[in-house]
Symmetry: C2
Subunit: 124 residues, 2 copies
Amino acid sequence: MPRFPTAAAMPAPFARLPAPPYYAVIFSSQRTADDEAGYAEAADRMMRLASQQPGFLGAESVRGADGFGITVSYWDSEEAIAAWRAHAEHAATRAEGRRRWYAHFELRVARVERAYGLKESSFA
Amino acid sequence: MPRFPTAAAMPAPFARLPAPPYYAVIFSSQRTADDEAGYAEAADRMMRLASQQPGFLGAESVRGADGFGITVSYWDSEEAIAAWRAHAEHAATRAEGRRRWYAHFELRVARVERAYGLKESSFA
């Protein structure tokens, strides 16, 4: 039995990304207590829709029991991020998010310069 | 009552950061089922220790019920990240993490180019 998971055995929540450079959109948010069903449906829909956009590389997302969450989506270019931002359904859903689902959020766009996983880092 | 939280009212899990550019270390991880008490103590200790390092700007962290988590720490330079990586106690704790606490992890280092929060984005 391998001590470290191989790439093929990487658990599902991890994004499988090419070698850097690429771009990350780091979205941290605090949910309101409102409309869990509507929020969950919209979040699923946005993740499906994002994954169909040109330049989308992958995403990782988690939310804790206190409603604070972090979603990081990865893109091959700034242009791909801008195009997804301009997507009409995404823009409409963001407006609903600001109105109803998020008590607060912060969004940071970053260029990933280097990356490694558990297996590689065990030699570092 | 303000519709959007002011900076002063920003909920605690959000990092308060200067204007970009700065650097992000995006650490996503899947916990094993082992040693929750030891892990929690080490995680708290590392967060306290990181926050005392030169160049540390802030961090945001969340772990879900399934054991998948994302922690993003922010730094003012690549040099600050390298110095924290070389910190002896941090290195020893990382080794324990690879051995015991993490089934898998991915780490990405990125340069944050731009950022905004809920209030600003409501005008976008």
